[in-house]
Symmetry: C2
Subunit: 370 residues, 2 copies
């Protein structure tokens, strides 16, 4: 049923109902793309659709209009800055319309800092990286990849040596679109050093669209403690969001530098989009917040201090047996709600407190087995 804008078609409601039906059926057959296709929190957030929310321009500058969500946006950015190990007063960033906008922004930053720079990107890089080179009139070198899709570092080395007179702007892919391959930032940094590129003669943009939320938990691949320039992720892929979005984080000094040198781009607005979606920061914020302690009320009520998936109880002289009994009784009660009477599982904290002390379904079974 085609949703035309002619008068002779079915009613609007019929078209919408049919469309929603199709989507509901097709959810069960979505295997081939790295997207979190369902958004669980939609009912809670639906009232936001009443308003036009526009985070126009810089997220850290307040608007004279109230219809934005910049406070939510900054909370999300702070979270990612912490994840990627850069201090609050050292970073700048914004919630983008998706991974492509992050790449367009990161590569533009590189070019503005190193105007003569050549863009190096592996052939498995996202196509938006080469699109950026074309848009920005930059010279570029395509680097070969291994069968698993990872950058061929010897080819990178050869091409860096060929172009030693020009600075290097390198796109590092943390999770290629098709094979999920991860280019190794450390090897790339080592290669740059070996080829004689000092830190003022290269810029590294990390396209972490898919894996930016995983790698920090596996190793410290993405960290601003290393001389990288920008990192971007897709918000809709791992976290889930009803529409495409992303996060771009870079060093504040680069944006300040832009503000001085590039009147038009940054003094007014250092983003690509200008008018920006005000809903996506709230969706991201809500998704992230829901992955923190499941029950804020409970945490507040018992004034618990939480770290990762843990909270502790401190038995000081003033604590009575009655207080502890009340706490335990409420905890047992609330756990039934949190884990839906055993339908979902508590998080594993075996690595933090020892497997024998962990009550997750895996360790609990392990413990009671013969």
């Amino acid at each position: 049923m085609e949703p035309g804008l002619k008068n002779d078609g079915p009613s609007l409601d019929t078209i919408l109902v049919n469309y929603l039906d199709t989507l509901t059926q097709r959810v069960n057959y979505h295997l081939g793309y790295p997207v979190n296709i369902c958004y669980d929190h939609y009912a809670t957030l639906a009232p936001l659709l009443q308003f036009h929310l526009n985070n126009c321009g810089d997220p850290f500058l307040q608007n004279t209009v109230d219809f934005h969500s910049k406070d939510f946006e900054v909370a999300v950015l702070d979270w990612f800055a912490q994840l990627w190990e850069i201090e609050k007063d050292q970073y700048w960033g914004y919630v983008t319309n998706g991974g492509t906008e992050g790449n367009l922004h990161g590569i533009l930053l590189g070019r503005e800092l190193l105007p003569e720079g050549i863009l190096y990107a592996s052939k498995d890089s996202h196509y938006s990286v080469f699109k950026a080179a074309r848009m920005y009139r930059m010279d570029s070198e395509t680097i070969k990849t291994s069968v698993n899709g990872e950058m061929d570092y010897s080819d990178l080395r050869a091409k860096l040596l060929q172009n030693k007179d020009k600075p290097a702007i390198i796109n590092v892919t943390i999770g290629t679109t098709f094979k999920g391959a991860i280019d190794n930032v450390d090897v790339i940094l080592e290669t740059l050093k070996d080829c004689g590129y000092s830190q003022d003669r290269f810029y590294i943009h990390c396209d972490a669209a898919l894996c930016g939320l995983m790698t920090p938990f596996i190793n410290n691949m993405i960290s601003f403690k290393k001389p990288i320039g920008s990192v971007t992720i897709s918000g809709h892929k791992f976290l889930g969001c009803p529409m495409p979005c992303g996060v771009q984080i870079t060093r504040k000094s680069y944006i300040n530098n832009l503000s001085t040198n590039v009147e038009y781009i940054a003094s007014v607005d250092a983003t690509i989009s200008g008018s920006r979606n005000g809903l996506t920061p709230i969706f991201l914020w809500y998704s992230l917040a829901c992955k923190r302690p499941r029950d804020h009320e409970f945490v507040r009520r018992w004034q618990l201090s939480c770290v990762k998936d843990m909270a502790h109880v401190i038995v000081m002289p003033g604590i009575t047996r009655e207080m502890l009994d009340n706490f335990i009784s409420e905890l047992v009660q609330q756990r039934k709600v949190w884990y839906q009477n055993g339908k979902t599982n508590p998080p594993c904290v075996g690595e933090d407190i020892g497997a024998q002390n962990c009550a997750c379904s895996y360790h609990k079974i392990d413990y009671i087995s013969p």
Copy 2:
């Protein structure tokens, strides 16, 4: 109340409820920006938030994923193509993330068609136009404006004559951000001709962000019957949408030309964003559809042919008095629903059928006054 992502803050629900309260109160004090701040259809469309909808790449190419709204998008594009007088098989376009993306796309098209072209834009143009020039490494000329914000055509002429050896890419603003001034396309075309620029040596992009939906009803300012290259509007300003969006329309031949010459930009994806918001096309479609006959069921039931705000009844030999009585009786009944018992007004069709025949509130009063 700050929406942080720490554990010690208020609950998520408290933060959201407070945020919605503030927005609801502030709606009454929104005077300074050209945005339709409230979106009436939110309840109907809220269920769409359950899914991640992504109109990745070209709207006219089908995805292998079902979670998109390209059929709705094409319906919206067709509507705008008709408004701006270009045939269905002659145009290409897409729903953008806002006016800025439309400008970035239009100016890029101009540059790809005329790589040596100089960008001409009045100083009252949107800042994204000069941002584009910087991003794309284009030479640009800023044209003076009159006190009302309109382009100074004698200054344009002087600068065109100075640069006669290079093609011209002209940004025409249809409704400047601050003063709402409209650059006159016809005068600009006349000036180009006078200065000796043939049609293959200029490209015109119309930034109609604000007024693109009004001008066609005032005069024929925007029409692809004139040698213009692209038109963009903001979807959220006049139509209303809970988040920024826009429409970009251009000539298909330009995109086909890109597809041949520019492997990376167009063969895969001729849009700027790549992953694209799948919700905004549905919001735009719904807003446009609601401005068509108020009651599709009624139109279908009586098989009426509608043009603009009019429908006619054809009394052929087979039509009985009884049929006409039934029709009139239903019409009178339904009008009470459509116009909420006189709380809202029927559209004015005085210009089409004569003031004395029009039943809008203005003409009706005029007619019955002494």
